[in-house]
């Protein structure tokens, strides 16, 4: 197991505000293999986003360390692209300019050796645009696109520098069910094609099962890993699998566990009192 892509070792995070301390993560240990697709679920506030942001290098851990290819993480880098829940597109750039944004950066420019590299890059931008079904919107501004289309641009932009690791924090949270399904197949396709390692946070258990090869269930107060589930589905996924007994059984099990760990229960007695009062 020494060839893990990402090793998370005793990682903890405590946020200190003026009045109080929040222990967002207690002590996380997790190994992620190359080309794995790990999904993270758990009650709100269990530290999923915090963990992802630490892996991205946007936040530094209070305790422990994360090794990426054996080397400790020190700030964000091109090798780890992140797709945010809220649209982080650049509204002053067109769709194509957004996707090609990284081409202006020194880290990327330094890798360009000759004209054919430039051509390959242009081809990649076109291919991503095509893959996302946005060819007709290459010259549109983000404000002219729907939410789902904007999120596809954000994914294409993140994929442009060929990141070995892709970090996604509820990227489809704002999308409707149909668009989401299309995006699921698309992201699985990218995962296979690019051999990338993907860490994917979601609220949607069905999404977590359909996408992931492993599901990490986290629990809040303090944020920790509660349990890990292997997904008993073949690598090649299919929408119909969502109806299979293994799928629904796993879904039921995970949902029940999230409910148990969330610390929030539907108090039927309280509800009864409430409805008695409101008549």
């Amino acid at each position: 197991m020494s060839d893990a892509k990402i090793r998370i070792r005793g990682v903890g995070k405590t946020f200190v505000n003026e009045q109080r301390e929040v222990q967002a993560l207690q002590s996380i240990d997790l190994d992620i293999q190359p080309n794995e697709f790990v999904t993270f679920v758990g009650a709100s506030g269990c530290g999923k986003s915090t963990l992802l942001r630490i892996v991205a290098g946007l936040e530094s851990p209070s305790r422990g360390e994360i090794l990426l290819d054996g080397k400790p993480i020190d700030g964000p880098g091109v090798d780890r692209a992140m797709v945010f829940q809220h649209y982080s597109l650049y509204p002053w750039l067109t769709v194509m300019q957004n996707i090609k944004f990284c081409r202006q950066l020194k880290v990327i420019r330094d890798t360009v050796r000759n004209d054919s590299d430039v051509e390959t890059a242009a081809g990649r931008a076109d291919a991503l645009l095509n893959l996302m079904g946005l060819t007709r919107f290459a010259d549109a501004y983000p404000s002219q696109l729907s939410g789902g289309m904007q999120q596809r641009v954000a994914i294409a932009r993140a994929l442009m520098p060929k990141p070995a690791t892709l970090l996604m924090d509820e990227p489809f949270g704002a999308l409707d069910a149909q668009t989401r399904e299309v995006m699921h197949d698309l992201i699985r396709h990218v995962h296979r094609l690019e051999k990338s390692t993907i860490l994917f946070v979601t609220h949607d258990v069905e999404e977590a099962i359909y996408l992931g090869s492993r599901i990490v269930l986290m629990a809040p107060r303090p944020g920790r890993i509660d349990s890990i589930y292997e997904v008993p589905l073949p690598a090649q996924r299919h929408q119909d699998m969502k109806l299979s007994p293994e799928f629904t059984e796993l879904k039921r099990e995970i949902l029940a566990r999230i409910r148990e760990t969330s610390g929030m229960q539907t108090d039927l007695e309280q509800l009864a009192k409430l409805s008695a009062v409101t008549g």
Binding site: L58, P76, P91, Q104, G133, V182, L186, H238
Partner: protein
Amino acid sequence: MTEQINIPSASTSAQQRHTATPAAPAEQVVRKSSFWRIRGEISRRSAWLLTVAGLSLPFVVWWLWTALGLADPMFMPSPGAVLERIGRWWTSEGLVTDIGISVWRVMAGFGASALLALPLGLYIGTYRPVQAFLEPLIDFIRYMPAVAFIPLVMLWVGIDEGSKVLIIFIGTFFQMVLMVAEDVRRVPMAQIEAAQTMGANRGEIVKLVILPSAKPALLDTLRITCGWAWTYLVVAELVAANSGLGYAILKAQRYMHTDKIFAGILLIGLIGLLTDQAFRWLHRRAFPWMRK
């Protein structure tokens, strides 16, 4: 879902094709006028009409007031008299020179202020240590009335061109720095973090994300502070000048030329309005992506 994604091996696209049900009978929507809807739109025509009406209202009242002889023309000249005075000022009293010198002073003071405030505000809004170091100080100076600096400026710089420019600078610079810093701080963190995860370094983030993202707000800040520059120009010219629009107004008071006072005030207002419109036009031209 109108657009479709072509993915090899995608299994969903087929399910999305089904014949559309016949459209429901078009309801007869009674379109109420959006005149009083909160933040409702109005037509271009009504917008123009209302603008013209709003602008001409005070003039009509003014004209009626004087035409009916309700005011002493000594203290309240008629619009006609003021217009006539502007004509005379233009042909024989050097209006162009007065406007020219005033515009030059505003440009110099405002330009110097912007030249320093933009980079300084950018630093304050981007780096917390710079903010902690400079913002309270600037806040403190900002609350000292710029007008109260005039005696000091006259002692230090004298009453030549430098003093007018300096007064305009003092009046606008400190406000401008704080506004620029705020504009820069308003750049969404997500935009900055997205660039960081693509490997952008600090310089690139400032140049490729923070500046372009803040540009529209910065142009608005310049537009607003330019208006203040005109206020301080008049103040400076009233006390420490022998040329310019403000000085002309002051001199007119000495000779009881109320029509010229009116003319001067109106002209300054007009120049301000034109500058403001120029900024707005530039805003629309420079940021087409802001339109829906």
